[in-house]
């Protein structure tokens, strides 16, 4: 019964979001403030209305109202209340509703915070963001509705789903639900969808401002970028955390010893991250130098389209099979929406092309401007390679009828060299000056990091001479780390020598004086840490597999494992567990017991492999129980991975969050260091002012 209220609030939210889209467009176009205010009020209502729908789904999950098809699909009595509540985003209907809800929340927040400041842009900000919201809420209402109920025709073998009672059908409430896909019952998968959706929807805000700037013709100024800078950073960090949580989930749950498989769903999320990261950088170019204005527009349009495209791929499964496209109206709806918004934004951009001229000029190819442009090109090239590899199976099937796979080796081979150059640029570019960089000064700046990194790479390379291919990667990582640390050291030294501060205080003040710059460097360090983890994974990973009888051992690298036996017991959340006991030795020294398991989820009839992991800062020893022989259970098959440096990936993720916090933390007082150089155009403006005589 209460679920009907959820449906009502959902329908109201849809109507209000459609109304807000058109009212704001009309109000902005005809310059009728009353209409715009009305649109704003409608927008502010959408969020509480959707909150109502979300709450009711959450409540139904908690109360296990299995008369709703969605609840019966993703929850079950065996699941804990916490897990049941997280099932809100465990299936398609709930996910899309959740997506719309976060989107509406962001838009409401923008209206509350920015209404006074950006009156001129607001009508179109509302229009663009509410158009997106209306599309998603519309998808929830018409295509993938979580309030659909189960019905049963007397004598029919299968159940029917419909919102309202079909003639002749009886309401049907199963005793128990199917329960959440066992693979999703992990903290990574509980945290991954919300963070990802916040990231995805967060990018809609800068996009909406950008479009508003284009529509109003105020795109020449950079206000839209300044207004949305922090939003963009927040969206970016959530998307980043979403990616890392997804990787962590894959590592812990999927049981193949890795964290990134270049799966279409992963790529779908990675692409907006790539263009979003490029956007974050190109915006700096515009703020500091008034350049790349058109390019920012291109990037934010791409990022927006790719976030929708990502949701499309994830939700329709179109890449694994063309046939998934036509299975429901979801595929065509997304396809049309992406096509229309993408083409619409691009034509808008071209109509304003002439107004987006660069204000400054370049003096030298060796300059920070050039580095920024090259970096943006690399991000886009990687995005293209990933996009192309992701959609190519589809194209191949459509063009030649042959199904093909574009697997990990393709992505590693194509994007690897591009990432190498990109990371190198990340180390060098901050050393470049704007306008032009004297080659000699640059040489001096990178001399010590370069020598130091050569020494480290030589020593490291000697220790790992059996993997010569890893040496360039190790050199790169050490060079970039040293280059960044040198930047900090220079900053601290300059402060402490000129002000006589102690170096620690200098370091703290360095952060507070230029949050973006030094926070940015922390982010760069985080990226290098992740790169280190990827090098470990790519070059030093070892694996072996063997079947052991009780008491037998298997060895890999310096480690050996003794199989002590299997043990079966009923676990929580409706599963049967079979756990292996392994004793891990390094050389002859006993380290610890490892217990890789296989959990068999009874209702879903699905096994989940839970690794037994011994984790150190240097490497993970990752053991999987693959199976056992017959009923006697005295022999079992194991696969064992040594994953060196993998923990740097997670540590790097923490560094990214930390760096973003430093960069985006609201400063107490907006006090900037005076770093400007008088420019003729500024001077002329000042001189033209009459003397005020103070």
């Amino acid at each position: 019964m209460i679920a009907d209220f959820g449906l009502v609030t959902l329908l109201l939210a849809f109507m209000f979001s459609v109304y807000a889209t058109f009212a704001s467009l009309y109000g902005g176009w005809k310059d009728r403030p009353a209409w715009v205010e009305s649109a704003r009020n409608a927008t502010l209502l959408v969020f509480p209305l959707l909150s109502g729908s979300v709450m009711i789904i959450v409540y139904s999950l908690y109360k296990m109202d299995f008369s709703l098809a969605y609840i019966a699909d993703v929850s079950s009595r065996a699941m804990s209340p916490f897990l049941r509540v997280t099932a809100l985003w465990g299936g398609q209907q709930g996910s899309v509703l959740f997506w719309s809800w976060i989107m509406a929340g962001f838009v409401a927040l923008v209206l509350v915070r920015k209404w006074e400041g950006d009156r001129e842009l607001m009508p179109y900000v509302i229009m663009v963001s509410m158009l997106t919201t209306a599309f998603f809420v519309g998808v929830v209402v018409f295509i993938t509705n979580p309030f659909v109920r189960l019905w049963h025709y007397p004598g029919a073998a299968e159940l029917t789903t419909a919102l309202f009672q079909p003639a002749g059908a009886m309401p049907y409430t199963p005793d128990d639900g199917q329960g959440l896909n066992p693979l999703l019952r992990h903290f990574g998968m509980i945290g991954h969808p919300p963070t990802t959706y916040i990231g995805f929807t967060g990018f809609v805000i800068p996009y909406a401002f950008a479009m508003a700037a284009l529509i109003t013709g105020r795109s020449r100024g950079d206000e839209w970028m300044r207004t949305t800078r922090r939003w963009t950073l927040v969206a970016w960090i959530f998307l980043t955390v979403g990616l890392i949580l997804g990787g962590r989930w894959a590592y812990d749950v999927l049981g193949w010893g890795g964290f990134w498989g270049w799966d279409p769903v992963e790529n779908a999320m990675f692409m907006p991250w790539l263009t979003g990261t490029a956007f974050l950088h190109s915006v700096m170019m515009t703020e500091k130098r008034g350049m790349l204005k058109k390019w920012n527009m291109v990037l934010i349009i791409l990022t927006y389209s790719l976030t929708i495209f990502g949701t499309f791929i994830t939700r329709t499964g179109v890449i694994s099979s063309v046939h998934a496209f036509a299975k429901s109206a979801l595929g065509p709806a997304f396809f049309v929406f992406i096509g229309l918004t993408f083409l619409g934004s691009l034509s808008l951009l071209f109509s304003r092309w002439g107004t987006l001229k660069s204000e400054h000029q370049l003096q030298n190819f060796i300059s920070r401007e050039a580095a920024f442009v090259l970096q943006n090109m690399l991000f886009l090239a990687i995005t293209f390679a990933v996009f192309w590899g992701t959609v190519f199976p589809l194209i191949s099937e459509l063009v030649t009828g042959t199904k093909i796979t574009v697997g990990q080796p393709y992505f590693i081979k194509v994007t690897g060299p591009l990432f190498f150059v990109l990371v190198l640029l990340m180390g060098v570019a901050p050393l470049f000056a704007w306008r032009k960089q004297a080659a000699r000064n640059l040489g001096r700046a990178i001399l010590y990091p370069f020598i130091g990194s050569l020494a480290i790479a030589a020593g490291w390379g000697y220790l790992h001479r059996m993997h010569p291919a890893s040496i360039p990667g190790l050199w790169l990582v050490s060079f970039v780390i040293l280059a960044i640390l040198t930047e900090y050291w220079k900053g601290v030294q300059a402060r402490s020598s000129s002000r006589g501060e102690n170096p620690f205080i200098s370091l703290v003040k360095l952060f507070s004086r230029n949050q973006r710059r030094y926070g940015g460097y922390i982010i760069h360090l985080g990226v290098v840490m992740i790169a280190l983890g990827i090098i470990g994974d790519g070059f030093f990973k070892q694996e072996t597999q063997g079947t052991l009888a009780v008491g037998e051992s298997l060895s890999i690298g310096d480690y050996s494992f003794r199989f002590e036996g299997l043990r079966g017991y009923p676990g929580s959340d409706g599963r049967d567990v079979v756990e292996a006991q392994l004793k891990l030795f390094k050389g002859n020294r006993f380290i610890r017991d490892l217990r890789p398991r296989r959990d068999f989820f009874i209702v879903q009839e699905q096994p989940v492999t839970v690794p037994g992991v011994y984790s150190t800062s240097g490497e993970d020893v990752y053991t999987l129980l693959l199976g056992w022989e017959g009923g006697s259970q005295d022999a079992a098959t194991f696969r064992i991975y040594i994953n060196p440096l993998i923990n740097w990936v997670w540590a790097g993720g923490v560094a990214l969050i930390l760096g973003t916090l430093v960069a985006a933390w609201p400063a107490k007082k907006e006090r900037q260091e005076v770093t400007y150089v008088l420019r003729p155009d500024v001077l002329r403006g000042v001189l033209a002012q009459p003397e005020t005589g103070n």
């Binding site: 049981g255 193949w256 010893g257 498989g261 799966d263 279409p264 350049m291 499964g317 694994s320 099979s321 660069s358 400054h360 000029q361 370049l362 003096q363 190819f365 401007e369 050039a370 442009v373 090259l374 090109m377 690399l378 886009l380 090239a381 293209f384 390679a385 192309w388 590899g389 190519f392 199976p393 191949s396 063009v399 030649t400 042959t402 199904k403 093909i404 796979t405 574009v406 697997g407 990990q408 080796p409 393709y410 081979k413 194509v414 591009l418 694996e543 072996t544 597999q545 063997g546 079947t547 006090r671 005076v674 400007y676 008088l678 003729p680 155009d681 001077l683 002329r684 000042v686 001189l687």
Partner: protein, 174 residues
């Protein structure tokens, strides 16, 4: 005994001895290899099987490398690889066999021939094109230097004390 006969006898003798020795040696060699075969039948290790399975994708499940795929079908395919290795097939032969049986989609790394080669070519073209565009853009920006040359003298005409005052006032505004 006539010398010819004795020579013929000794020749036959030598011939026989040689034949015997050769056949003995031959049989010895063959039995030895036969022994070697029955002693240690070449049973490929799971690691050898996985090394090849890694280069293949499960032909039925979406986007799962064969070495980590857990379905029964994949288990059978891995067993097939093991048998093929045991029969002395090379890696290439095994990969070709799977492509013939299940189509191109089993290869983790797309082929570099036919229509599939576009998957490799286009990103390369993209990068080259990107570099050209970057060069053009930077060149274009450099071309604007003339504008600056006109503007610089404006700065020079301002007396030093005025500049200092403006600097000071700008700082106060901040």
């Amino acid at each position: 005994m006539r010398p010819e006969i004795s020579r013929a006898v000794s020749f036959i003798h030598i011939f026989l001895v040689t034949i015997t020795a050769l056949s003995l040696a031959f049989s010895l060699v063959t039995t030895q290899t036969g022994l070697a075969q029955s002693d240690t039948p070449r049973r490929p290790s799971a690691d050898e099987v996985n090394a090849i399975a890694k280069k293949l994708y499960c032909p039925v499940c979406p986007n799962t490398p064969l070495d980590v795929c857990e379905t029964k079908a994949c288990e059978d395919w891995r067993a097939q690889i093991r048998d093929q290795l045991a029969a002395g097939w090379s890696e290439e032969q095994i990969l070709n066999y799977f492509v013939e049986q299940y189509g191109e989609r089993v290869l983790a790394e797309p082929m570099r021939s036919g229509f599939t080669s576009f998957v490799w070519i286009l990103p390369l073209i993209g990068v080259v094109l990107g570099l050209v565009i970057v060069y053009q853009v930077l060149k274009g920006w450099q071309g604007k230097r003339d504008l600056e040359a006109v503007q610089i003298p404006v700065e020079d005409q301002i007396p030093a004390e005025t500049l200092a005052r403006i600097e000071k006032e700008l700082r106060e505004i901040d």
